[in-house]
Amino acid sequence: MKTETYTLNLGPQHPSTHGVFRIILELDGETVVKATPVPGYLHRGIEKLAEARTYTQVIPYTDRMDYMAAMLMNWGYVAAVEKLMDIEVPERAEYVRVIVGELSRIASHMIATGAYGGDIGALTAFTYTFRDREYVLDLLEMVSGSRMTFSYFRIGGVAADLPEEFFPAVRKFLGELPAMCDEYDGLITGNEIFQARTKQVGIITPEMGINYSLSGPTLRGSGVNYDLRKVRPYGIYDRFDFDVPLGQNGDCFDRFRIRIDEMRQCKRIIEQALDQIPEGPIMAKVPKVIKPPVGDAYAEVESSKGVYGCYVVSDGSPKPYRVHFRRPSYINLGYLGKLCEGWKIADVIAILGSIDIVLGEVDC
C-alpha cells in the first residue's frame, strides 16, 4: 500500500507548547518522521533594548525572560555587572540572594512538575502544584512586593532587607514542602500510566547531552553530574551542604523526577542559609550612576532550567555597549528536533514538556 507523510503544524497556538512555540512535524500516521522547531514568536529584542538603558534599568528586562524564576534571571545579570565593576557584595545580601533564588527555583520546578502532568493528561497535577506555588509567591511578594517579575536584585546587593515576618513564614513553608513533594510523587510520579508514558521515552545519552551543550535538569537527567552550584560555586554556594539529584536513563521520567528531588534539596539549602544568615548591610557601596570601566565580563548562574549566563560589554558610558544572555531553555531546545524523530505525536509533547522551556527565555 502506498502511504504518504503529511505535515502537521504544532503551534504556535497550541495548548501544550508552553507558550508560542511552533514545531513543524512531518508525520507518517502518528509517527514523527521529522520535527523542525521554530522559535521566535515571543522575540522582544531584550538584548537590543538593554543597549538603550542604564545598567540598573536593564534588571526589569531580565525578569521578563524566565518569568517562572525571575529572581535567578536578575542574579545572572547583576553578577556580570558586579564582576565588571569588581564590586564586593555584602555577606547578608549574598544569603538573601540564595534564599530568594532557591525559593524562585522551587516555584519554577513546581510549574514544571504540574505542567508536565498536564501535558501527559493529568490536569489535576497542575492545580496541586499551582496551589503550592502560591505559598512561594506569597513569600516572594513579602520580600519584593511583586509576585512574578520581582526586579529585586540590585547591582551590589538587593533592593530591600528581608522583612521580619518573612522568617517564620518561610520556615513554615519549608516544613510543609516535603509533604507537598510526596503528594506530587504519589499523584504523578508513582502513577502506572505516567511511567508507561515517560519511561524510556526521548532518551538523551550523556554524550549527546554534552555535545549539544544541554544543561540543568535536562542534562542531569542523563546522569551527568554538572550543577554550577557544585562544579563552579558562585556567590556563597560552597558553604552549603546539598546533593545533586541525578537520573540514570536520560528519559523523560528521569528529567521529570529530578525536579521534584531538586525541590527537596532547595529546602536543605534555604534552611542552612536561614541558620547562617548574618546581620549587616544589604547593599555594597555603589555609585549613584553606574559607569563600569571599559571591558567585558561574563557571569553564569545555575537557573532552574540550566546554566544561565550573561555577557556584558562596557564602553565606559552609563549604558551597556552590548548585553548577551545565554538562555538555557533556548540551548536545551537545540536537541529537540533530533530527539522527537521516531516517536508518536503524544511523545513530542512529553519530550518538549520534560525539557521544561519558558518561551520568554527561549525567544528573549
Binding site: G118, A122, T124, Y128, A196
Partner: protein, 352 residues
Amino acid sequence: MGENIFVGIATWLRGLLSGAGVPDMWNDTILLVVKLVAILLFILVNALWLVYMERRVCAFMQSRLGPIHVGPKGLFQTAADIGKLLGKEIILPKGADLLVFLLMPVVIFIPPLLIFGVLPFGKNMVAIDMNIGVFYLLAIASLSTIIFWAAGWASNNKYSLVGGMRSVAQMVSYELPLILALLGVIMITGTLNLNTIVDSQKSIWFVFTQPIAFLVYLIAGMAETNRTPFCLVEGESEIIAGPYTEYSGMGFAMFFLAEYANVMIISAMCTVMFLGGWLAPFGLDFIPSWLWFFLKMYLMIFVFMWVRWTYPRIRVDQLMGFGWKVLVPLALANIFVTGVGMYIFRAIGWWS
C-alpha cells in the same frame, strides 16, 4: 407512593385517551411518542446536570470550588454556558465538507436517544421492551464512532482527522472486549432482554459472580466514552480537541453534551448488567426502583469522573496493546471460566 409514579402517569394518560375515544393503535403511538420525548428531555437535562456535576467533582478533586455563582450553588452555570454558546457565531472552516460538518453535531444525539429507549429505568419502566436489548444496545452504541470520524473528516483539519482516526481505531479495539465482557452475563442469563437480565440478579448481582467481566467492561467502557485515561480522541494536550477542533458555538456544545449522554449510557448499561439494575439491595424496597437505578448510575458516573481527574492519558500504541493483549484475552478467559463453571454447576445440580 413513589414506586409507581411514572407508570401511574402512563396508565392515567392511556385511560384519558381511551376515555376520549382515541382508537387503541393511536393510543399506543401517542404514548410511545410521549415516552420518547420524556426520555429526550431527560437526556438533555441530565447532560446539563452532568456537566455541572463533573465541574464540581473535578473542583473537589483539585482543591478548588468550581462554579458557585450562577444560581443556587452554581446550578445554572451550564445553562448559562449553553446560552452563551448559542449566541456564538458558527465558524465554517475553509474547504470543509459543509453538509457533513453541519449535520454531525445534530445527529450526535441520535444514538443516545435510541439506546435510552430500551433501557429499563425501573420496574415496568421501559419505553420499548425489546427481547434483543443487549444486541441492539451494542450495535447502536458503536454508531457514534462514525459520527466522530465523519466530523473529523469533514472539518478539513489535520488535528480533527487524527482525532477521527484515533476514534475509529479505539472503537475497533475496545468494542470487542466490551462485548466479550457482557457475553459472560448473557451466558448465565441465557437472554438478551434487559428486563430479564435485571430480574435474574434478584439473588446476587453479576458484579459478584462476574468480577473480571465487570472490570473489563469498566475499562472498555471508559475507552468507549473517550474519557481519561483513554481520551485520545480529544487528547487536548496533543491534538487540541480532536474531531471537535473546528466546531464553535452550539456545534461544539452538542458534542460536549453528547459525551455526557454517552457516559450516562455506559453507566446505565453497567447498572443493568452488573449492579442489579433497578433492584433494591438489602431489601430496601421503600425506596422506589427508579431511584435505585439512578443512584447506581450516578455512582458509576462518579467513578468515571474520579478516574478522569486522577489518571494521565495513555499513548495511542499503548492503548492498542492494552486492548488486544490484556483486555481481549482476559474477557475470553472469563467466558471460558464461566462456561466451564456453568457445566460443572449443572452437573452437580446447583444450576436449574
